[in-house]
């Protein structure tokens, strides 16, 4: 079978949306709504460094995202301060550094996502990375639920809370890395958070939450990508517009209690 860049991009965007819907569900339940955007900003200096080194910007972004996740985890554990505060400060600094070392059209691509199909390497990374996130969330969902309700109960349920937190942050960072090519630094956080935020309004159980969040993320990605292809524009803003539109529509329907 011949390699088809279009088919590869389609598969990656669908799997990336599933990963975003799953990790976003737990991020929203863990009150990391405001953390997703600034966290994605750390990719920017990585993109800048990769461009200076004439590498694919995606690898630089990914390296910095994973490093950032470890940094947040370590600082939070050592200083015992809220994740959001650590993420907010670290990534505001990262955005400042990134915008200094990246410039012009490259900066726009990094911020909003770049048009065009994926290379074979990017496709393989997208598929493998998405599967890692999907398998992590589905396999660890019970531990994540108990950790969410109470870290102390998690400790007495034989859960290594520190390790679980690190893996969660790494999966979160990886998910941002997966979507950077499509949505860019500024918008990827939205695809993780918006579908899960909509799902949370209606879900009354974990299964419904995960299923709804994934369905909305995939629907927004499909609709945004389709409209973008008709308009011959980068897909990122259209995907986020679709997700944002669904969120505002969801406000018209009252949540059942």
């Amino acid at each position: 079978m011949n390699w088809s860049p279009e088919l590869g991009s389609l598969a990656v965007s669908a799997l990336m949306a599933v990963a975003a819907g799953l990790i976003g569900s737990f991020a929203v339940m863990r009150r990391m709504v405001l953390a997703a955007d600034p966290m994605s900003h750390i990719a920017l200096p990585g993109i800048g460094i990769a461009l200076i080194l004439r590498m694919n910007p995606l690898w630089g972004a990914l390296a910095l995202l994973l490093l950032g996740a470890v940094l947040i985890w370590a600082v939070e554990r050592r200083l015992r301060i809220a994740t959001e505060a650590v993420i907010g400060v670290t990534f505001a600094v990262a955005l400042a550094i990134g915008s200094i070392i990246t410039s012009g059209e490259q900066l726009i691509d990094a911020l909003l996502g770049s048009p065009g199909t994926l290379t074979l390497r990017e496709t393989v990374f997208g598929i493998v990375g998405s599967l890692i996130v999907i398998v992590f969330v589905l396999r660890q969902r019970n531990a994540l639920v108990v950790r969410l309700v109470s870290p102390e109960i998690a400790l007495t349920s034989a859960i290594d809370v520190a390790r679980l937190d690190l893996y969660f942050l790494l999966a979160f960072a990886l998910t941002i890395g997966l979507g950077l090519r499509f949505l860019g630094v500024l918008l990827m956080g939205s695809l993780i958070i918006i579908p899960a935020a909509i799902a949370r309004r209606f879900a009354r159980s974990l299964g419904t939450m995960l299923a709804l969040s994934v369905a909305i993320a995939v629907a927004a990605t499909a609709a945004g990508t389709y409209v973008a292809s008709l308009a011959a524009r980068p897909s990122g803003p259209f995907i986020v517009l679709a997700a944002g539109g669904l969120f505002f529509l969801s406000l018209f329907r009252r949540r059942e209690n």
Binding site: M29, R31, N142, V149, I153, T156, S157, R204, R255
Partner: protein, 232 residues
């Protein structure tokens, strides 16, 4: 080690403040320890240190093969969290390899109807959620149960039922129970040992000898009136 727990010179410091200092006690297996003391004396901190959630000085030694079940005092849970009781219980059951029958048994032990499991945990009453937490703690066959004011938020008949449940578990399953309680009549009725954390250090012993009016005055800083029920 014949004891379920041995604690030597335990100290916990949070920020610049010593919350617990120099606490030493041994707890025999299958006994019930009540931890009492005024607000801010460090009862919750003690339990959190015992389960390994807080850094501490001194030595905490649990018997080999100890399986802990922990019921925290209060949980900071958002009311619209999309998790129902079944999600919560299933999560622990999956982690501990507990069967569906074990889940039903845990629910029965705490007197919680199975229908309640369909409710989002944020919609449960304080008493329902507390019972769910105890049922959760019972999964995985713990041999030590740590409960931080388990009766808080439960109505009076519910409290009496809960106390009987806990006593039944301790006696029937030979469980060691560590219980934070403000209710001294419960302490007299159910506890074999009492640890009082007060403003001027700690005391430890059987309730009848440890809880004298003088000790209580020293622990709480004021005279306390209470009724003693014989455990018959």
């Amino acid at each position: 080690m014949t004891n379920a727990l041995e604690v030597q010179d335990l100290g916990v410091r949070l920020g610049a403040m010593d919350i617990i200092r120099g606490v030493t006690f041994d707890l025999p297996r299958a006994s019930c320890l009540a931890v009492i003391g005024p607000n801010g004396a460090g009862k919750t901190v003690l339990l959190r240190a015992l389960i390994g959630a807080l850094p501490h000085t001194g030595k905490i030694t649990w018997a080999a093969n100890t399986v802990l079940g922990y019921v925290p005092q209060r949980l900071d849970i958002e009311r619209d969290l999309p998790l129902n009781g079944r999600d919560f219980l299933r999560a622990k059951a999956a982690l501990t390899g507990s069967s569906g029958a074990m889940q039903v048994e845990a629910l029965r032990s705490v007197g919680l109807a199975e229908e309640t499991l369909s409710m989002p945990i944020g919609n449960m009453s304080g008493g329902q959620f507390q019972r769910l937490l105890i049922a959760f703690a019972l999964l995985g066959r713990p041999n030590v149960l740590l409960l931080d004011e388990p009766a808080a938020g439960i109505d009076a008949p519910g409290q009496a039922q809960l106390n009987e449940v806990l006593y039944g578990l301790q006696a029937g399953r030979a469980m060691t129970v560590l219980l934070v309680s403000h209710d001294l009549s419960v302490v007299y009725r159910y506890a074999d040992h009492v640890l009082c954390l007060g403003r001027h250090g700690a005391c430890f012993g059987p309730p009848r000898s440890a809880l004298t009016p003088e000790t209580l005055y020293e622990v709480y800083g004021q005279p306390l009136g209470f009724h003693v029920h014989d455990h018959t």
